[in-house]
Amino acid sequence: MSAITTLFPGTPGAWSLPHRGKVAMASLIIAESAIFTIFVVAYLIYVGKSLTGPTPREVLETPIFFTICLLSSSLTIHFAGKFLERDKRGAFLALWSFTIVLGALFLFGTGREWHRLIYEHGLTISTNLFGTTYYSLVGLHAFHVTAGMVMLCIVLIFGLAGRVGVEQSARVEVLSMYWHFVDVVWVVVFTVVYVLGR
């Protein structure tokens, strides 16, 4: 069977292809972007079309602190990955845990805002168009943050068990791509909901 290689002449010297995990995550991100685009378009089209109150201007408060939390978690996860590449497990675990804390803070912020909107202003998903589009867009994003948190926690558990080393670096990088994507989506959602939509 060794003859096979000679059957096709002109063997290339070096043959390297992209990492399949990264290609797959990039593809998933493209697909997810299309889903978010549709929700963002629906939000923008329905801005100001609600027939009854409450309106965004009356009830929304800009979540500056929690936005800073989420965006800075992109930095912490990036540096966590860099430390893992250099096999500095302690620093990796510390920054990784910090990322999870920042993500949890953000989710807490979303939860608090929803609680306030529901109990103080009586805004639910069925109240008016604003409620429908707001809860579905922000909720879709929060769902993605939650999914990311689950995956981050799984890595943390394996990391605490001492199973995440430099050889998993590429895989951790894939998860990191997802987390960056979730952050970028929040920039868009934030702009649409809290800046343009009011």
């Binding site: 069977m1 060794s2 003859a3 096979i4 290689t5 059957l7 096709f8 002449p9 002109g10 063997t11 290339p12 043959w15 292809l17 992209p18 990492h19 399949r20 290609v23 797959a24 593809s27 998933l28 493209i30 697909a31 997810e32 299309a34 889903i35 685009t37 549709i38 929700f39 629906a42 089209i45 329905y46 079309k49 609600s50 027939l51 998903i125 069925s126 008016n128 168009l129 429908t132 589009t133 579905s136 879709l140």
Partner: protein, 557 residues
């Protein structure tokens, strides 16, 4: 050096008990088995949705017919359309992609075999969920069972008030679930093509089938996801009291149309591009010439991929958009005909001067060329908004898109079956039955869908369950129904051919067509690992190089 050197000797395998065989198929992560599962599952639904089509045609055979009630008629055309697109065309094309892409790029499996199995079972359960609606769709209301709102399910028909019970929920959920399956498969195809090519298989040496499936997978990512998003919105409306498509609360029914067709039109190209891929492999082999204009074919496909994302609202000319939108979508729709025309010229250029062998795969390919051309021409006619205002929602439209889907996609699929069945089973399909299948299907197809243009021009609307006599539609509808039954007979011949040839067909050997791509270098059917040694290629036609060492393609690469 003959190709026998590549053969992997068939090892005698002990025959397993039935339960273990079934268990093996249920738990498989092998891309070839999953490909066959996709195809078998799609063929099952092809028969089911075909029977639904026959019920529609019997009902319309003559005026004032009462073969089925109006309610059942609505369910039949809804289920026929939904099934044919989502549970026949999509899975069958994914099945071929699954089977062929790794073999053609010299890989041993897909990039993510378990994701592959997961995606298949998601799609499969989506189909079973849709058909469970016949039992479970009435819910507590005793309202109708299967979905009956048309395959595009325009708002507000899907609102709770107009669609009580659970029939619309089954429609939504089954498409959502199978949509996730499609996205998983698309990601898998992309990762496989980009990351698992064998040494030497540069992008510009990939077989066109692989290139076109790459574009198809990319389109699935962008085109299927808007449908998933819209289905989520519809679920929010139906279950959480949302107002996305609720005009009484300020929502918009037209928004659903946009979201649906942003999916719906690219979907047509998601389905036709793999068929272009079959043509681009089959026509060169039976013309005994390499494909004409390889780089142009790739460029035209990528171009179709982009342009087809901006044509969707030509389905909505009658909604009353402003003149700018009408002009824009007219122009883009006509523009998409340009790269498609380039492809047709290239296939003809491939055949030109070739030594054409009229085997069954080639017959179906030639049928494809003619019919797809006509389908494209009626498409260009309806791209003109004023013409569309006249004929939208008439049988002319039904004839047009069946020309695309049956005359184009299904003919290409039959060609693919006759071409790759020997690779998948190790047996040739019977040429005699194949010729019967081709000619019967061709005659049936034209009796049905060529004639169908005329009642459309005479003003017969689609989706009506019966009509008055004396409008000039009666004879035409009878001919259309007769054609449908001839097609059904042809399908029976095809199924018989599949079954008989599996047991009694001639042994195929590795390379029955004297073809040039890598899948023909391994045994038929290929072993689980595909290639004993991962091949190394130096041109677009590695098997040509191997068979003609005195004049290899790689010399001109």
């Amino acid at each position: 050096m003959s190709s026998d050197a590549m053969a992997i000797r068939n090892v005698e395998v002990e025959s397993l008990p039935l339960v273990e065989t079934l268990h093996g198929w249920l738990t498989t992560v092998d891309h070839k088995r999953l490909g066959i599962l996709y195809i078998a599952y799609a063929l099952l639904f092809l028969v089911i949705a075909g029977i639904e089509a026959l019920i529609i045609r019997i009902q319309l055979m003559h005026s004032h017919n009462d073969f089925v009630s109006p309610q059942v008629f609505n369910r039949m055309f809804t289920m026929h359309g939904t099934t044919m697109i989502f549970f026949v065309a999509m899975p069958i094309l994914f099945g071929f992609a699954n089977y062929l892409v790794p073999l053609m790029i010299g890989a041993r499996d897909m990039a993510f075999p378990r994701l592959n199995a997961f995606s298949f079972w998601l799609s499969a359960f989506g189909g079973f969920l849709l058909y469970f609606s016949f039992l479970g769709g009435s819910g507590l209301y005793g309202a109708g069972n299967a979905p009956d709102v048309g395959w595009w399910s325009y708002a507000p028909l899907t609102a709770r008030a107009f669609s009580p019970g659970h029939s619309s929920d089954y429609w939504t959920l089954s498409l959502l679930v199978s949509g996730f399956g499609s996205i998983g498969t698309a990601i898998n195809i992309l990762a496989t093509i980009l990351c698992l090519r064998c040494p030497g298989m540069k992008l510009n040496r990939m077989p066109l089938l692989v290139w076109l499936n790459l574009v198809m997978a990319g389109m699935v990512l962008i085109a299927i996801t808007p449908l998933s998003a819209a289905q989520i919105m519809l679920l929010i409306d139906r279950y959480l009291g949302g107002h996305f498509f609720d005009a009484q609360a300020g929502g918009s029914a037209v928004l659903w149309m946009h979201f649906f067709w942003i999916f719906g039109h690219p979907e047509v190209y998601v389905l036709i591009i793999p068929c272009f891929a079959f043509m681009s492999e089959i026509i060169p082999v039976f013309s005994r010439k390499p494909i004409f204009g390889y780089p142009v074919m790739v460029a035209a496909t990528v171009c179709i991929g982009f342009v087809s994302l901006s044509v969707w609202a030509h389905h909505m000319f009658t909604v009353g958009m402003n003149s700018y939108a009408n002009s824009f979508f007219t122009i883009t729709t006509m523009a998409v005909g340009v790269p498609t025309g380039i492809k047709i010229f290239n296939w003809i250029g491939t055949m030109w001067g070739g030594r054409i062998q009229f085997k069954t795969p080639m017959l179906f390919s030639i049928g494809f060329l003619f019919q797809f051309l006509i389908a494209g021409l009626t498409g260009i006619m309806m791209a003109a908004a004023p013409f569309d205002w006249q004929l939208s929602l008439s049988y002319f439209v039904v004839a047009h898109f069946h020309y695309v889907i049956v005359g184009g996609i299904l003919f290409a699929l039959f060609a693919a079956f006759y071409y790759w069945y020997p690779k998948m089973t190790g047996r040739m399909l019977s040429e005699r039955l194949g010729k019967w299948h081709f000619w019967l299907f061709l005659i049936g197809f034209h009796l049905t869908f060529t004639v169908m243009h005329i009642p459309g021009l005479l003003g017969m609307p689609r989706r009506i369950y019966t009509y008055e006599p004396g409008r000039g539609w009666d004879t035409l509808n009878l001919i259309i129904t007769i054609g449908a039954f001839i097609q059904a007979v042809a399908i029976l011949v095809f199924v018989a051919n599949l079954v008989i040839s599996y047991f009694k067909g001639d042994k195929a050997g590795n390379d029955p067509w004297d073809a040039w791509t890598l899948e023909w270098s391994t045994s038929s059917p290929p072993p689980a690992y595909n290639f004993a040694t991962v091949p190394v290629v130096a041109s677009r036609r590695p098997l040509w190089d191997q068979k003609h060492p005195e004049d290899p393609d790689s010399r001109y690469d």
